[in-house]
Point group: C2
């Protein structure tokens, strides 16, 4: 958007035509859309409610809880964490079965995995992350470091670009125990090179933990083939799992024997209901669980993940690219002349499914847009994020949202 | 039930009369009871579904999530952990506002509180609990001890009675950092003396952490006046919060500045949405939170807790005593001669709201009872638990359940 000769603004007809030819267009009908006038560009903070989820929750509440009561634990609920994990793993994470489970919040999952990784690298004193990583990732690492007397080594990357493998190579060394980075930057949507960075971390003898919060359900990733050790992410964004839905975690099969998470609870114990003396880990990924699984959250995630799996992650990715490309094209034409600059990578291969725009009055603009029925979000100090959710966002939403911003400016 | 001259068995009419004069009888109509023939004596594992909860969940799903979307975080959701915590604290825990919050699972809460307590007693090497404590409590402590090189000191109490203050006095000493016990035994329902044991722990310079899973919503407790440091418990039993509902934790106001929990996350940070560098704890109980609060679970707990608060903990306690007294009276008369022994305290002042019965074939009997429409639960090796939920269990349920067991024997 630094061009001085903006291209002519795409007409709204273009957006209509793109919607008409969108192979995923019909998925929007599978979601509750009570206010068709609302332009919702915040699916990367909280995804919309799938109709199937509403129905499944009603069934889970009324029948599974209300009628079957305690019997539902054996009949349906106990295996949900791994069932849903396998579904997500196979359909969008490139993970063979038995390596993904749903548990806790992203923060708690990052803590468990980070702690397990640090225990597996005794004597090493450093943890590597970047200053633009999502806050909870940074805070979890600071907490782990404080408790263990370790040092967090901060990569200062380009805020618009992702952390690069060469920057990681400079930061890691024989003292590095763990590298924790986000695959998709929550601010710029820039994509980090998972395979290359994982190799660099491994070359230094460190373990790598990937935050996939803005990845899952929007950008495919190949955890198994990239050699990733550990990953975690949330399910309430592109997976449309509902507010505060449980997170998922991935532990590479070959590490499951060696890595121990610190929160030993009855659900992660071998033969839970023996209630026996002495903690003995359950086999496999189940050992990463701790307390009683949050059933209502889980069933919502299951339905959301099924929708994404049905659409197919490659089709989702293609639409994510098309939506962000269109958004950038419109922004270039109508917002750049008004002082808005693009704060996401221009290369679609290096960008996830949202677009960040910088403007000094971003906070105020975000609030005013909301009053005009356009929901975006603000990230300090000056970013407006447009979250484009491939299963529910239309090209006309993109056009209308940007046009509303143009009118405000 | 060791008497050789059993009293005459109470007739079912007695149960009818007790129901007719039960001041809480009408509360049962506030719950979904789709199968009136089912005798549900397992509300201490999973409480029934309140009708208000079904309606509130439908509203939260359809309106708060489906329609208001991300806006609901500001409008309703962000403050739920403390709002519900204050409601539970004031109405049944004897806790002034600002000391209770909803978060995570009981297991994760116990881990956070246990870890914070151990950090606050550096140099001390022992944790005290009892061998009959709930499995997850024992496992959490084993995990904390393993990670820190500490020792768990096990009290071997009477399996039917609660751990006594003199037993704790024998176990604690200048090396004790933390005492973790359950107020109501999950097996026998025996009540520990919170105030006396807390004093004993304090006399040794230790902190005390109470598990209130089988307490909250069934037996009143006075955390503030008893000088309790820390407590946690679950909400899916007597509070009827739903399967895997989030737990609550209590941190005494005077400790909130000094105690730090280990899982530093964005929700526990001062000014969360500044997303600023460096973890700085939120003030007060909010610093105990870590990740994004599980909204569906929380709203369900809020409705369940409101029902208990409306009924009043003293009325609930009175009915819990009446139900268990009646259960024991019927058992004495009809089950004792068949080889069933009472495995709960006879003194109602020392017993919570369930009754444990011992029989060598308890596992098989529990399964057969379920096939006859009587839901109880089995606890290894030989216990059948009858959970009597004061808001939903009728005296006729007690009579019918025990009569079904008599017929099986």
């Amino acid at each position: 958007m630094t061009t001085t000769h903006p291209a002519p603004a795409p007409a709204r007809d273009r957006a209509d035509a793109l919607d008409a030819s969108d192979p995923l267009a019909s998925f929007r009908e599978r979601f509750l859309v009570p206010d068709p006038e609302l332009v919702y560009l915040d699916g990367n903070s909280l995804g919309r409610l799938p109709l199937a989820t509403r129905d499944r929750l009603a069934h889970a509440i009324e029948h599974e809880w209300g009628e079957r009561l305690i019997r539902s634990w054996e009949e349906r609920w106990l295996t949900l964490p791994e069932e849903i994990g396998d579904l997500i793993g196979a359909s969008m994470l490139g993970a063979a079965p038995g390596q993904v489970a749903l548990a806790d919040s992203t923060t708690v999952c990052l803590f468990k995995l980070g702690s397990a990784a640090l225990d597996a690298r005794p004597g090493r004193t450093e943890i590597v992350t970047d200053v633009d990583n999502f806050p909870t990732d940074r805070y979890v690492l600071e907490g782990l470091a404080a408790q263990r007397g370790l040092t967090v080594r901060w990569i200062h990357g380009d805020p618009i670009d992702a952390v690069r493998a060469d920057q990681v190579a400079e930061a890691v060394g024989p003292q590095t125990a763990l590298v924790l980075l986000s695959h998709v930057s929550y601010r710029s949507a820039a994509l980090a090179d998972v395979a290359a960075i994982t190799r660099v971390a491994h070359d230094a003898g460190a373990l790598v933990l990937w935050d996939l919060c803005h990845t899952v359900g929007s950008v495919p990733v190949e955890l198994d083939s990239a050699g990733v050790d550990l990953a975690a992410g949330c399910t309430y964004k592109y997976l449309n799992g509902g507010p505060g839905a449980p997170a998922f975690l991935y532990v590479r099969a070959e590490h499951q024997e060696a890595l121990r998470q610190p929160i030993w609870g009855w659900i992660g114990r071998h033969d839970t209901f023996a209630m026996a003396p002495g903690y003995e880990r359950a086999p496999g990924i189940r050992s990463m669980l701790s307390g009683t699984p949050p059933v209502l959250g889980l069933v919502a995630v299951q339905e959301g993940a099924r929708l994404s799996a049905e659409a197919g992650i490659d089709a989702i990715r293609a639409k994510g690219i098309a939506l962000t490309e269109f958004a950038i094209e419109v922004c270039d034409a109508v917002l750049a002349p008004l002082g808005v600059t693009l704060a996401s990578p221009r290369d679609p291969a290096r960008r996830g499914a949202h677009v960040a725009l910088a403007h000094p009055r971003a906070r105020e603009l975000c609030a005013r847009l909301a009053r005009h029925g356009v929901i975006t979000d603000f990230r300090t100090p000056d970013l407006l994020r447009l979250g484009l959710s491939p299963l529910t966002t239309r090209f006309t939403d993109v056009w209308d949202g940007i046009d509303a911003l143009r009118r405000l400016l």
